[in-house]
């Protein structure tokens, strides 16, 4: 499955997921008794938990530096995360989040092939506010460290440019508990669906490429320069998670 395919797939998948969430919520609303107004006591493990997540992150990058590697401005990534809610105060809670996003894009570049590989690590505090027992609003701002690896395969072989870039992600969203015992005391796992949007920024990287194997290219090769890549722009993340306590 190519990266381009991922980017095309993400939009409909995300929409279908959101519709399912709303349908699921509707079904739950029909079947279940009205949820009691949440209190610190009743929220229990709905709020204080250790959660593991997997999903997709899509970022819209308007940097000219992305053009050689992608036919559009969408940068899809696999998103993995873990969070631990360590502090609660009535409906409000605070969690420590660690995330890892992996993805990239590839495209033909005139006569060459170009690809971009991104691995982003995130560490951030996340504030959560439970509107209902099964629904919480979330907000998160945290630093990121991204390994950006760009390569161009041309007549002289492959030239590379890699770098670690600091950045920041600021997102807000919603977490819905799809499945789990109503009691906050239950120790059973709970199934969550999270959606969030916001803005991600990484420091720009100059795209000056060096040969992968210096021995196989002409002497005193001038580096290929494709400008500057700034992985910055609006982002969406849809993840499913399991929480434990």
């Amino acid at each position: 499955m190519t990266r381009r395919y991922w980017s095309r797939l993400l939009a409909p998948v995300t929409c279908v997921a959101l519709m399912l969430v709303s349908q699921g919520a509707q079904a739950k609303e029909a079947d279940a008794a009205p949820a009691p107004a949440p209190t610190d006591d009743t929220l229990g493990n709905h709020q204080r938990n250790l959660r593991f997540e997997i999903g997709a992150r899509t970022q819209f990058v308007n940097s000219d530096g992305l053009d050689p590697f992608s036919t559009n401005d969408v940068l899809p990534q696999l998103s993995l995360g873990a969070s631990f809610a360590f502090w609660t105060q009535q409906k409000l809670s605070l969690a420590a989040v660690a995330g890892f996003d992996y993805g990239g894009s590839s495209a033909s570049l005139r006569s060459d092939k170009a690809s971009l590989d991104l691995r982003r690590f995130t560490l951030a505090p996340e504030a959560r506010y439970h509107l209902f027992r099964v629904l919480a609003l979330t907000a998160k701002v945290g630093p990121t460290l991204t390994r950006e690896a760009a390569e161009v395969s041309g007549p002289l072989g492959t030239v590379l440019k890699t770098g670690w870039k600091f950045g920041v992600d600021a997102t807000a969203g919603v977490a819905v508990e799809l499945w789990g015992y109503a009691s906050g005391d239950s120790k059973k796992p709970r199934l969550w669906l999270m959606g969030e949007g916001g803005y991600g920024w990484s420091a720009p990287m100059k795209l000056t490429f060096q040969p992968e194997s210096p021995g196989g290219v002409p002497q005193r090769l001038a580096p290929l320069n494709l400008g500057e890549l700034s992985v910055a722009g609006p982002l969406f993340r849809i993840t499913a998670g399991l929480s434990f306590w």
């Binding site: 939009a11 995300t14 929409c15 959101l18 519709m19 969430v21 709303s22 919520a25 509707q26 609303e29 899509t58 819209f60 990058v61 308007n62 992305l66 053009d67 050689p68 992608s70 036919t71 559009n72 401005d73 969408v74 495209a107 033909s108 570049l109 005139r110 006569s111 060459d112 092939k113 629904l135 161009v152 395969s153 041309g154 007549p155 002289l156 919603v174 959606g195 949007g197 290219v217 002409p218 002497q219 005193r220 090769l221 001038a222 290929l224 494709l226 722009g233 609006p234 969406f236």
Partner: protein
Amino acid sequence: MTRLLSSARASCALFMLLLAVGCGDRPADMDVAFVPGQKENKDPTDPSGSLQVRGLKGSVALLDPALNEVMMFTSPQSRQLATTRLPVGLNVAEFKTSATRDKLFVLSRGVTPRYKDSDERPQLRVFDGGTTPKELENVALQDPYNQLEVDPQGEWLLIHGSEGLVSNPNELLLVQLGRGAGAAATLTSKTLGSYGGKPLRFTFTSELSVPGAASRRLLVVQREKDLAIIDLAAPNDPEITVALPQGAAPLDVVYHAGIDGEVSSLLGVQLAGDTNVDLLTINAAESADHEFSVHPNLVDVGGIPTMLDFVQTRKGGGLRLAALVPTKQAARLIDPSSGVAQEVPLHAAFTKIRRITNDISEKSGEDIALLYGEATNTIAFWRLGITTGTPYHSIEAYDIGIKVGQVFDIPNDEDDTFADRKILSGNSTGTTQQFYVLDLTQQKSFPLDVLKNLTLNLSPNGQQLWAFGKDTGFAQLTFDPLQPASLYTEEAISFVHDFATARGGGERSVLALHVLSSHGHSSVAATLFDGTKPDTARTKFYSELELEGIK
């Protein structure tokens, strides 16, 4: 829960909106593979071959036909490369330089057929060939044309060869290039009257004197059965048509500005498969329609001539039309006043003649001509001043071991130090290929052995010569001292040219262009050397130049 449903739908709508905003396309140019422009080139002296690349004074121009752009490679300083992309219009038909290599001319056909006003028109674009490439002029044309002729003196361009359901081959478009900064080109559309002939070749003359009128330049259009002579001082005036004897087709036209008190300006016409030479005298006007008249005189030279040229047999006079007749192993000198032809026996069957008097600053006033040809290993210097009386002794012949096909002039518009040198090249009979550097002043020829057939490219500054083949080696040849230096690149060479850097002060870079294969397509790379003291160990290699500047 209704709120939840609403917010989910709103999120979906927002997501789709952001997706639409985010799905901006990248520049379409990035999706287009590079394909080098190729066009058949029958000129053996053109170092570009079939590749549409041109060497200019301050840059190298490479056509990028897939993007309708020209890549102008310049050098900010020695061994450094910069690329400027300039649009050239759709469907490039011609890609030529001026004789002095200071301008690049690109003729494009635009969108054909043009269904919409927004479809691009045919155009002629003129670019600066200096160290800061830019478009100098853009002339919109009414119809698409296929051919462009460049005036050797850089004043005129001739566009012709329209192509359509119905086209008139005698329709010409004369473009007088603007003189000075900001001056616009002027267009004159001209449809030649015809008796059935189509244009074959064109000759721009130098200034020719005309009795009773100002001297002027002429454009001689060689057609299948006649000549059409256009007065470039009054291009809107009707042309003069000169019928050729028995409908013979012209092969070549030579001209001379005449000699005061002896003979008026002359045109000499070589006819295909004919032993006659048509000598046309430019006389005073005989009608109000033209500023001059043309009087033909047919002279039989005793055999089919292979080349004509005007020569002077004494200082300030003695003008003759020389015709080489290799079947007789002789030349004929035709007196334009009387039409009498004097035979001069030659040492070999020379087929070509080149007057070289100006190149050697001959003070005696007599002309010296170089005789050569592809049918003989001999070249000869012909001293026209002592032809009368001792015709055979006027020729000094040398066996140089190669059949000379081309004679290259050393460019002298920047520096005429080596204007007295000629480069002779052709096919050798031995196993080792050779070309010669001819010192006209000392009448010496210096053979240079080469391992294979090489393409020769003279530097625009006239100080050096580049010889290159299709592999990774090429050579620099300086004229003083006459010293070749072998140089090597790490990729196969398609073209070599040296040009001034932007820093000036005589600093130059030499560019060896490579067209490489990449994923089934082509890619452009270049090795940059210092242009005056090139060294294989001191180069800079630039790859993927087709990516430079794409937007």
